[in-house]
Every structure is written in C-alpha cells, then in structure tokens.
Symmetry: D2
Subunit: 407 residues, 4 copies
C-alpha cells in the first residue's frame, strides 16, 4: 500500500483519536480531514472542532454532523424489524453504528479528494473489521489506516509521552488507565476490559452509566403505549415522533426503570471471547414492543421464517457485513414481512423489566371467533382436526410400522 | 375405525375427564383403564384413584405414577440444552409434557391389552395433535379417541347434565364456567380462554397462580449459583440435586421473586392465534443459567449452529413431533454440542428478572490472555487482523468494482 | 358448507372432468362455469368448448385461455431464479402450475358471481392441497369442491356407468384403465401410478412421451447459448424470445437429446411416498444454464444464502403455499439476488445430459487478475492469507487447548 | 514464530515438494521428516522414498502410507451420507482429502518430536486454509510452514534455478510451465489454472484424464446394483467390498461411461472466484445411488432437515473446518438419519449420465397400499385430506380476510 496523501479520520475529539490525528500527520505527512458524528453518544461535538483546529486541521477539513435520525431510521429500525439479537441476547448496539460512520467516512473522502480513511479501533476487536469491510464495500479503492495495528505506541506510558511531545492536551482523568473502556450511541452504552475481564466477577455498580439501578428504580410499574407502522415505532402514548425522538424517549423511560442491562460473554468475529456490560434501555423496550405487535399482525409462516433467519442476520451485522448482498437479501425478506406490522402495544416497565401486556391493531390476524372457548358459530369445524392429525401422523405411522417390522 | 374394546384414558380425576370416562363406558361400552400422572401439577393423585373406583374402574386398571424425575430428565432437560423458546419467548411448558403422557398411555395400553387410548384435549388446540402424533409414532396400530371432537356435549349445561345423570360428583366450583382454563406441570402453568381472550386487555391479577407479583416480591436481589454438567443443571449453591429437585427448587425461587410471567399471543399449529398467560418460574431461571454457562464453554461455531436451528427445534416440539426423526436428529446435534457445557453460573433474582452476573468453568474457552487490553505476551498478533480483513473484504471489493463499472 | 349455487370447474375436456361437470350439475343442481387453460400441455382446447356446450354449459360460462406466457413469466421463471429442486432432484413441474390455475379459477368465480370452484384432483395427492390452499389464500370465502373426495364413483366401472347414463361421450381408449396417470404442461410431463407403482421396477420405455431415448439421440453434442437478464433466460443463440418461447425452444432441444428424465420416489405433503417419472427437457437445460450464469455473477455471500434457503422454498411450493407470506418473503430475497444475474452461458447437449461449458458477462465477478497462477501485479497479497488463517484458527486452537487441558 | 527445529513435510516426491524440502533445510536449517500418502492419486510412492533419501532424509524420517481405506471410510463416506455438493454441483474431492493428510502430519510430528509441519499449497487457494485449520485444531501448539507464502521463488525460472543449484533432479517435462495444475485422489481429479483461466472458453479435451469422453463411451447403457448399509455403500452387484474397493470399482465404471465431468466456477474461501474442471466418476455414481436409496428409506422429516443443512455442511468442509464442533454436530445429525438407509439401488450408466432406475429395501417406507390408484382397503381415508387442507388453509384465510378488510 502506497502512503496516503489525505486521510479522513473518524475523530471523537478525545485523547486517543487526537493522538491518531497527530500520528497520521507525522508518520505519513498527510493532510487530515476530521469527521465527528453525533450518533447520540451524549457528548458535545463543538469541542472536537476547537481541538481539531488547535491540532492544525483546516476549517474546511472539519466535518461535524448530527446523524441521529439517519442512524435510527436507516440502521436501528431495519435491524429491529428482525427482532435481532446476537447469541441470544445482545442487541448489537455497537455493531449497527459502524456502517453509518464508515459510509460517511467514504463519502467525505470522495467529496474532499482523500485517498484514505482512518479509525481508532484496535487490532483485537470487531470494530476494525466492521469499519474496514464497510469502507471497502462502498469504495474498493479506498485505503484504510488502522493506527493501533501499525504504531509502536503499545502502552499507556508511550501514548502519554507521544501526546506530551506533540502538545496534545491531556485531561487530568485521562493520564492513568481507565478502569474499563466505553462505547456509546443512541442505542446503547457498552463497557468492557480491565475490571470487567474476569467473567466470573460481578460487574461493579459504577460500570453502569446509562440505566438506573433496578433496586432503586420506581416501586410502581409504569405503562406506555407504542405504535408501529410497517414494523417501525412511530408514536408513543399516541404522540407521533421521529425515529431518533422515539429512541431518545424510550431511553429515558428505560433508564428510569433500570431496563436493558446485560452482562454478557460473546464470541468476537476475530476468534476470541470477550465480556461486555451492555446497557440498551430504549432498545430493550423496543424489542419487546416489536415482538408484541408482531404477535397479532404476523402469521406463523412469516414469523417462523423470520425467526429462523434472525441468528444469521445478527451474525452478518455483528461481523461487519452490513453492506453485503446477503444482508440486503435478508433485509428484503424481512421488510416484506413488515407490510402489516402496524398497530399498538401496551408495555409495563418495572424495575429492570419490560413486558408487553396488551396489543391491538386493525391489521390483527387474531380471530376471537376462531379461538373462543364459547360457541364459535361454525368458524372452525373441530372434525377437521381429525383429518389434519391423521395426515400429519401418516409418515410417523409408516416409520413406526417399518421400525417394528425390523425388530 | 372399529369401536374400541379397552381404552386407556389420561385421567386427572377432575370433572371433565370423569365425564369422558363415563362417556367412553356408555358410548362404546368399553373397558376403561385410567392413567393419572404426577408431572408436578401440584395436585394430589390419590383422590383420582378413589374417584376412578367410584366410577367402576377395576383396581388393576388404575395406574397412578410419579413421572416428575423422568419428565425433567428426559424431556425438559434435553429441550433446555437448546435454549428453546417458541416464537421468541414461550418456554413450551405444555408442549413438552405431552410426549411423556402419550408414551405411558401407549405403554399401559400394550401392557393391559387395550386397543385404544383417550385424551381430554379439545378439537381447537395443539394438545390433541401432540397426544395423537406421539401415540401414533409409538404404536401405529393404536386407536386414539378424542371425545371433545366426537360427542355432542357442546356446552357447559350439557356437560353438567351428563354428569348429574351419571352420578358423577360435581365440585361446587365446577358448576359454572371457569373464568379461564389452566394447565400445569413442574415446568409451567398456562392460563387461557374466557377473560383472557381479548389480547388487548391486560390479564387480571387473579390469573397468576404460580408466581408472586413482582411489585410485592422481595426488595433486595437474591443471588444463587447453578452448576451444569454436560448441559444439564445438576447442583444449586453447590448442592447436588436430581433433575426434578432442581426444577422444584428453581420454581420456589422464581415464585418468590415473581420471575417467569409471560403474556403471549402465539400461533397454534392448527392455524389460529391464541393468547396465553404463562408462568414458568424455574424454567425462566434455567434458561438464563444455561445461556450463561454456554457463553464461556461453547465456541462460536457450535453456538451459532445451535442458535440457527433452535426455532425449528422449538416448532417441532410445539407441533407435537417429539417422537420424529427430525427431532431426534436435532437432539443428536444439540447433545453433541453439550459435551463441555459444564461449569457454574451466578444469577441475580429480583422482582421479575433473572440475570446471569458471573460464570466460571474448567471447560471455559474464555482466554483472558487473548482478550486483555494489557500486554498479551504474544498470544495474539494484531497484524493478523489486517490479512483477515483483507480476505474477508475481497469479495466485497470485487462486488463494488463490478457495480461501479456498470454505473 | 352450504350447497354451491354456481361453480367454476377446472375443465380439461377429458372424460374425468366431464363426469365431474355432470356430477356437479346433478349432485348440487348448480350452474357450472368451465375454465380450460393452455399451460402448454400440448392438447387442443377447442374440443373442450364443444364438449362443454354439449354438456349444457352456456357459451358465456365457457372460459378458454392461453396462459403459457403468464405461466413461464410469473411462475416458472421466479422459481428457477432459486435453482429450485424438491428433495434434491425434482423440478416441480406439476406444483408450479397449480397456483396459476387456481388464481384464474378464483378470478373467474369473482367475475361470474360463482360461489364455488371445483377441481379434479384426488384425495391422495398433493394437487388437491395446492388447488385449495391457493384458492383459499386468494378468496377466503370461496367454496372448493373436490368431487373425488365426495362421490361414490370409486371404481373405473362406476365412472363409466355414470358417463354412459349421462350421455358423456367416452373415447375408446378411455374405457379401460390407463396403464398410468399423466400430467403435462409447458414445464414437464409426469407419469405415475399403476405400472409404475413398484419403485424397484424400471419404468417401461412407453412411459416416456416427452423426451427421446438418450440411446437413440444424436451421436454428436450440440452447443447452444442462453442469455440471461436479471436471472431470467431472455435469448437463445443471440435471439431474443419471450418466456414461453424460450421454454418451448429448450423443450425441443431437450427432447431431441433425451434430456430431463427423472425416475423418482418423493414424499407427498399428505404423508406417503409415491413414485413418478418426470420429463422436464427444457427445465433441466434451464437449471444448468441458470447455475452457470450465477457462477460468475453471484458472490458467495448471496449464493450460499440462496442455496441454504432453496430446500425450504421448494418445499413451500411443493406443498402448495405459493400464495403465502413465506413464499413471498423468500421470493423478495431471491429476486434481490438476481439484479446482476445477467450474461450468457454455453451449454453442451448430448444423450441425456446438459453441461455448462462456458459463461461470460459484463456483470462477472470473476477476476482473472486475482486468481491467476501468473504474476498478479499485486492484486492479491499472499501474506494476507496467513492472518486470515490465524484468526479463523483462533477458536479452534482455544478449543484444542481446552480439550487437551481436560484430558 | 520462532524457527522450527524439525518439520514434517507433506511430500509427494515431485519437483515442487522436493524444492520445499531443500528450502526448509537451507532456510531454517531444520531436520525434515517426509510424509507421503497414497490417497488413490494413482502414483507410485516408492520413488518418493528414493528421492527423499537422495535429498538427505534419514530413513526413519520417511513415512509412506496407504490411507485409501481410511480416506473413504472416515471422510468420503460420512460426507456422502449428506449428499454433499458445494454450490449446487461440486463433490468436494479436494477438500475432503486435506483433513486426513493434516491429521497424519500432526500425528507424525507428535510421534517424531517435530515442532512443525509444512505443506506445498499456495497463498491464493483453499488448501492452505484447510491444511492449517486442521493442523491447529488437532494440535494448537504446532507450527505450520507454508513456503509458497514465505519464499521469493516467485517464478518458474527461480524455482528451476533453485532446484539446479541444489541438485534436485528435474524431470524433462517439469522444466516448462504445466498448461494447468492437477490434484488427484481416489475421489476425484481436479484441473485448474493457465489454459483454464478463462471461464468462457471450453476446456480442451486433453484436460480430462480421469474419464473417457462420453461421445466415445459405450453405445449401450450398463446397469449395476449398489447396496447400502446405514448410509454407506457396501456391495456392488451383490458382492461385498471395502470402502476403497467400492470407490475404485465405481471409478472404473464411471471412467468407462464418461461420468462425473464438471466444468465449474466456484467461490474460494479466500474471496475470489476460480474455475476448475473436476472429474469425479465414482463419486458421481455414488451420489445418485445414495439419493436413490434415501428416497425409499428416509421419511420427509428427516430428508428435508438434512437437505436444508447440506449447503452449510458443504461450506464447512470446503472452508476447511472438518475438525470443528459445527461439523461434528452436523455429522451427528446426519449419521442419526442414516440408521435405516439400508437397501439396494439399480443404476443406469450411459454416456456421461447416471440415473437411479430402481430401488428396494427391507427398510423401505414406501407403501404401495397407501399410494395405490387401486382400492387401498382402507389404508388411507380420503376424507382426512379435507380436514388436513382446512387447517393448513386457516391461516391463509385469516390473512386474506385481513388483507381484504384493509383494502
């Protein structure tokens, strides 16, 4: 790979990406463009601009964008249409943010004439894979620079030395090692590493930043109603909201009731296991809500097909293949199923839990006439069941007859 | 189908199966054998014997058996090895009990020379299918009688009339319609019908019989440890227990903490949707525990394969195909995966929730050496990630190149 | 079910459906509408009109339609996009024709004010299921009459008697039992029953009607080129043709070279096994051609996903669920994959076989630059493979380390 | 990776692996152990011994083994139980040989105290992945050396120079570039590269080495009978044979009739497409035979489950994960299905094709009593079909009613 001339860096404004910024300038002598996105991580973005300018970035090379609506509309919502969880439980809060960041990195590179992009993910994790696969899928010519895999700044001491030598300001609390590593966006906050590395040990209380402790959460359940249109949540308690507003509101409710904590050991795509603490307050509510509305609006053929493909869809997203034919094919299948996933659910929020306790819809397939224990006025002929069972049993009888014959 | 001469009836001792008993005697003039099983439904069985004798059943034709250990060991535990849930959430508490009852019905029929079996399931539900498929799979010659699909006792009034005419004692509270219908065993209690038929309406408090209300559950979390051996829970807080003892103990804990309530609309195999309230206290804890121990003992190849087949496995059980080649094939696959699912998890129980908060095992695949943020002493070479990504990206690059060329 | 007043009958003009026609008139006293479709079965349709008139059908109640183009365009082609085979080998020639016939039956019923439709499929086969599921899916109020399941004309003698009593003309060769039963359309001819009922016995030569004997087929291979656009065959040897023209032309070629014979024992949806002789000359060529063009235009992610879902898609079609959400969802996935399945294949036809021997496309993903044994000018860095392997091996190493530790 | 001290080399005795042998000695100064296996590639092995001795290998370090029986019994046969084909058509002849070679490499390393193994696969192909994943899965400490990824002998000229400088004898026909590359074992011969690199161009006749040209093959069909026991072919024309004898015999028959040629473009695991010519004469016959016996001995539940998992199983083998939990899990499922796959098929071999034309078995599930067009003496009640259809249709009716209501 020839040396990059102009690099778009995914820049948070924090110490680590500031070091990367400077390292790119010094190591490659290249022009740096910074890209800082608001995906709902809960940090001010303007300090990133000041810091970038201080590090010598030209104003026209500083891109700061609020991507929250696009994030929820085009990434989070499509994923939730599939009731997606990785390895049974994880709501993919980190995974789903990477494709959008990568897409903007590539677009900004193309707009600014940059030949490379750079990210701050390490060589041990999934994020490097997600960033790079997405970038290459969108621009096969782009160079991707992953400083953590390249440089020799392999200890905290060396990083701090580099920062000091290069006049990068160091916040007081960044001098030492953080007790664990954090990633956040509108969907979730993840914490991992250091004090969390022993999966036998309970995560200490101070790890949780995004959800109140269920023990101290309100002592009475709260009830809310979420309305869906074609698989996406569009209104809460009857009030229409935008995608990002919906997730923001559900996050507030989830935080208050201590909903969405997950202590998890997962299999990384790069082959090792890692332990993470995930907090996904709004997403956890959204998953239960979506399942609830599907219960009455999706028939079994559609539902079972979706369910059987969800693990694969989750794996594709987790592994970083959002921009791949197989993800797009599965999305087409999933989206097709959502045409009638329209209606409202009532949810109970209480001390760490969310339960669907009611659901209704003009699109409902639930037929009280058929299911009733009362007289059904001929909606269903119980005699049909005999034939249904006989033909379903036929192959089992033939098997049993064969097996008995051979004994 | 020629008339049965001797019928083994799945007999609870309650009013409905007593009416069936009498109806079989009068309708077919056949000898009746009663089979009453303790699957942990929480009812005394001896009254069933007295009632059977009173209804003219010969003592040698009365079979009363405690099947709790067999139920958990050979049905519940194998199912939980797959983390099985139907349609995302239901733990299959009713479905998993039917094969065992059917197996004993057929075995007793063969032992007593009966040519038929009978059950008390209605023509609208799944249970008729489960009973009959299982019976036919075990004995292709057996006749199965489903009185609810045959007789004309189509209203509560007619049933009560029949009972009175035939000197069947009627408990005071059985004269009127029950407000909903209940099924129970060691794994769960289900409630459905009548007051629960509108899926928009919240289930009234009095429906819940098996779990305390989370609101009034203890205000402090309780922590327990569950130990697994080859996928099955074998010890709690360090104390070895039998399969049924384990589930009984987890049920007590789950009840106390209000764990395992589910308000659910599901797709029946017979084609309609129905709404049920399920309470699965111990099972809900067991599922979380099993997932927790798999997190560190199962590698991603095994785990993802299992996960992708679980929905199908659940559907097979739900639909009543326990004794089918496909269930046995999947079981072979699942059991193969459990050879190292051995170790202990710590669980937090609190007001309706159960969370795995720690897990450890001699069989653990978690490698702190590999995942650590600290120096890993060469366990993992971050440079490898570059090649890994490049080759995973190759087809995406070729796709992007093709697609750009054609624009 | 109340008695039908007006029935649309799927009418071939042959003896059996003529008997049904008369039986409907006499049994139900209802008005009959006949629907006769040309799906390429190779029979004249006008005699059906004359016969219908002779049997008292009003001219405005006689519908005769050429559906060949619609059949191939909307049913056969979508199915071939998935390389669909049932149970490894069967090209679903009967299954795929039923939905279209059903669709027109329902549409004609709605246009003529009929409240019922009727078909001539027996109670043992798959076709009754396919017809009826399709009709109910398109019109949930329609009645479907299946005379073979209702009447008492249970032997050839009784049928002939009924025909004679009702002045239905009987062709000389229809008096006796046919030696086997035939179904034909543009995609295939199937033969089953009678002389074919012993699956150990080779099918006699006279069963084959649609393909020449490979032994006497031309002694030299013939080469053709088939061009695809978005997954559908659109030109042969450079000449654009319509969908039905394409299949007709491939049928001629396949017939000449003895291609597409299959002696098969399959599992019917109704639970039994049956043996059929299938001749699918054009379809067999089309399958090989489509696979060939996908080889260079589909990437592995898309191809493997499609392949893994094909068996399910085939089962859905075989079982009669063409008009179901799950088929439509899978179709959306499959169609999404075909956007670049455009290009040309060369095929060799010779004595019962068809082989793809060349393929090329502007949409090709094949990169000689990458795969070459020669110098690849840096297209591919072999060093990347080391990292790729190391990370793919990591979990296997961790497994092996664990397993050795425990020995 | 520290330098290896003693290396077991997969040694064919040919020029390339002789160069590797010498290169290992000179580059690493390490002791070399050679392992030469007979997997049915059709070459004498003793010349490899002489050549190894000539290149300075100690006699006790030369391992030459006939692995043909183990190859077919423990690798080919288990794979064929699943009717395994990769990407619809390829019988995995190369893939399935690699695990066995790797297993012996590791075992010999452990027996001789070697710390490394080496193979002659290039950095662009799948074989490097298969060798290395298998070795690491069997011994996580082993070093694997892949000279083609390391050395600078990047052209034919450099290789020949190296050979000449090191007194490695060069056969006259090995001086120039071979027109294509060949791999062979008892299951297949593959040819790829050079003259085959353009997938639009027909493969020249001289590429085919393992099968006679169908055009000149015998003009009359030949019929054979193959008998299976629990899924494996055990006798031909009534004569019991060992696994390797079976495949050898089928290879002779397939060769004679020109069976098993495949011109194929496949997706390599390393991300690119490649074109290969495969000749799998015996395997192609075996696949058709196995499908034929499964047709009557496997029920639909078992068959459809197997079919749906086969693509994944094939991918796992192709990608080199034979020694992985997921392959072993799938094998357990597949093997479970084969318990009754016992019986005999008759096959027709003719000019490039093989067709199953008859099959019979004591384990047959085919019931002429059920399927017959004649009177079935009550084996099957056609009325049952009505109920079967009604309940299968119920959800479709509910869907149609919903969709009509919303129009």
């Amino acid at each position: 790979m020839s040396a990059p001339k102009k690099v778009v860096l995914a820049y948070s404004g924090g110490l680590d990406t500031s070091i990367i910024l400077k390292w790119l300038q010094t190591e490659y002598g290249c022009e740096v463009v910074t890209f800082t996105a608001d995906l709902g991580q809960g940090e001010e973005l303007e300090p990133a601009r000041e810091k970038a300018i201080m590090l010598g970035i030209k104003p026209e090379n500083i891109f700061i964008e609020d991507l929250r609506e696009e994030f929820v509309r085009d990434y989070v919502n499509p994923m939730f249409r599939a009731n997606t969880v990785y390895e049974g439980q994880y709501l993919l809060g980190t995974s789903i943010a990477r494709p959008l960041i990568s897409k903007r990195l590539v677009e900004i590179a193309e707009a600014t004439g940059a030949d490379a992009v750079a990210h701050g993910a390490t060589g041990k994790g999934n994020d490097q894979v997600r960033f790079e696969l997405a970038c290459y899928a969108l621009n096969p010519e782009i160079k991707v620079i992953a400083p953590w895999r390249e440089w020799d700044l392999t200890s905290r001491t060396k990083l701090i030395d580099f920062a000091e030598k290069n006049q990068i300001p160091i916040a007081r609390d960044k001098r030492g090692e953080a007790p664990f590593s954090v990633d956040a966006n509108l969907l979730h906050t993840s914490s991992e590493g250091k004090v969390l590395e022993d999966p036998a040990e309970m995560a200490p209380d101070y790890v949780f930043q995004r959800t109140d402790n269920p023990v101290t959460a309100p002592d009475e359940p709260e009830y809310i109603e979420v309305t869906f249109d074609k698989g996406d949540a569009v209104a809460i308690d009857g009030k229409a909201v935008t995608p990002a507003e919906m997730l923001t509101k559900l996050n507030e409710l989830g935080k208050k009731h201590g909903i969405g904590r997950l202590d998890f050991v997962e299999n990384r795509f790069v082959g090792m296991k890692s332990r993470g603490i995930y907090e996904t307050p709004g997403g956890t509510i959204l998953l239960e809500a979506h399942r609830g509305i599907e219960q009455i609006t999706l028939d079994s053929g559609a539902g079972h097909l979706k369910d059987s493909l969800m693990p694969r869809y989750a794996e594709i997203i987790y592994n970083g293949f959002w921009f791949s034919p197989e993800r797009e094919m599965l999305q087409a299948l999933i989206d097709k199923s959502q045409e009638h996933v329209t209606g409202t659910v009532r949810l109970q929020l209480f001390k760490g839990s969310v339960f669907c306790v009611g659901r209704w819809s003009d699109h409902s397939l639930y037929s009280e006439a058929h299911v009733t224990f009362e007289d059904d006025a001929g909606a269903y002929d119980q005699k049909d069941a005999a034939g249904f069972i006989q033909l379903n049993a036929l192959r089992l009888k033939l098997l049993a007859t064969r097996n008995r014959r051979l004994k």
